[in-house]
Symmetry: C2
């Protein structure tokens, strides 16, 4: 399987594991890289010191390429970027912010930079900023998302039509069928988040992994659009939030209502009632928790089988 994405990262399969807060530490990232994909350490939920530890552990756990995902709205993003270049990280995925600010800095250090977007407009801006590839992420994705609500099925060909650099599809992909469909729609590779949450190596709490397996279609919803839109499992916290919305809260009141560390509480500590549980719609197609290697093998097998059956 040779695509512009396998070549860009020097990996076996065009499968990238999305950087996810509280989920993707060095264990998950290196398991994905060792299985032939590209693993990403998610810096978003890590103190700088913790990120450095994860990077150093990752280097010992794999000799394959891996990267770091950096949400550009991270409060002390400068510190994170300094660690990345100090530690000689060669692949960085940026999201949730302006790619102009950091792309040239990273590229001076020989870093391959990829930016996550959810519209054609921002895909073009990222390309202009000089990134090496783009992740186009659809409305069905878990975690943070776009206000415009453009879905993977429509976003991919619209972005592909306008950009010249390699394109990675994200949002709604968890299987070999999904990977092939994304490639048909114009992608050169795929990024998967939800599927890797339900893996042995994810640092998610077992309760959350099991909740992902139990999730069916219609069980998630995109909310908190006034802050940063996020797709959540409809649990007690989500229902309380919906009720709170009926009082027409201000932004500040919403922030207060959320309180601190909701995502950690849900995804890392396993509080399924009061925690924030970020996951994509495709959770409805995920039925088991298993090792990363089995997940990737299954995807590659299904991909080949479906392709041959066309």
């Amino acid at each position: 399987m040779k695509t512009s994405i396998t070549q860009l990262f020097n990996i076996k399969y065009p499968i990238i594991q999305g950087g996810m807060i509280w989920i993707s530490g060095y264990k998950l990232a290196t398991a994905v890289s060792n299985a032939g994909g590209l693993g990403l350490i998610g810096a978003g939920s890590m103190y700088p010191k913790v990120l450095r530890e994860h990077i150093q552990k990752a280097k010992k756990a794999t000799d394959k390429p891996f990267g770091v995902n950096v949400p550009l709205l991270y409060p002390n993003v400068e510190e994170i970027m300094q660690i990345i270049v100090d530690e000689k990280i060669k692949i960085v995925f940026t999201s949730a912010g302006n790619p102009k600010t950091w792309t040239s800095f990273l590229k001076e250090y020989g870093v391959t930079v990829v930016h996550v977007v959810s519209s054609v407009k921002f895909a073009l801006k990222a390309q202009e900023a000089g990134v090496d590839a783009i992740v186009a992420e659809g409305f069905e994705s878990g975690g943070h998302n776009s206000r415009e609500e453009t879905t993977t099925f429509t976003l991919l060909p619209m972005v592909k039509e306008k950009i010249d650099i390699p394109l990675i599809a994200a949002g709604g992909i968890a299987t070999g069928r999904g990977m092939l469909a994304a490639i048909v729609l114009g992608a050169d590779g795929v990024q998967m988040g939800s599927r890797f949450v339900a893996s042995s190596e994810a640092s998610a709490h077992t309760n959350f992994k099991q909740a992902v397996v139990n999730t069916q279609d219609g069980d998630t919803f995109l909310t908190l659009k006034e802050l940063a839109p996020v797709r959540l499992i409809k649990n007690q916290f989500f229902n309380d939030l919906e009720k709170f919305y009926q009082q027409l809260p201000s932004k500040e009141q919403l922030i207060t209502f959320l309180g601190k560390a909701r995502a950690k509480k849900g995804m890392f500590e396993g509080d399924l009632e009061e925690g924030e549980l970020e996951i994509g719609q495709i959770a409805g197609l995920i039925h088991d928790i298993k090792p990363v290697r089995d997940i990737i093998d299954e995807i590659i097998t299904e991909y080949g089988f479906v392709k041959a059956s066309l």
Copy 2:
């Protein structure tokens, strides 16, 4: 191209033209059928007498199979159903209502019945009701839509996993690539709406057809969720509606605000300011208005080309 859908309807290509109010009269439906797909007369915006005329004209305009789309919430749906059996229509697509109520009636008259759903739950209900096939329609689709917001990319494999009858994909499909991706995800055929709005034979006003061509990603939004969710182009009326929402209107106030015949005003009479303009997200990939035969030829050519390139 032989699939369970081409066999079910005895058509050349597994391409169905969605039944759309103010858009799909006998001209569009028979053009699609004559080009090898399956055309549907959209009964939703027709008085019973008008529907009968369109059916009779369609019979003269094609010797190929065609059908009628019936929104089950139509006020005098009994009259519509009577016309359908009187006129010996053999294919009916039902939507927006309970498929139990009419499926057995229609099947007694030898009608092939297809029901449109937007969730796994309703797909199973439709299968139990005895329909011959299911249309699974994603959140990106134009016109009426689901509150659960499940997208085509995730809905298709989730429905496919649970049902045994043929599956038609809808929402976000306008090209050969899109058709192939839908088939990869588990569909046996596709239903396209938006693409056929921008056709010479659609009864849409030229202004509306041109508006579809001008639409880009992010230019549509799903609204009116309290009544029946509908995806609209963000025009003056949409913006006024968004402002009105800030007053927290009751359902009744919303209905009054809408007034009568908004969709007709926009889509049929071409009032782009005050009318309701229903279209799917994939409008961003539609760049020209052309005859149905050219649209279908292009889709089939692209489908073959992309398939061969995998």
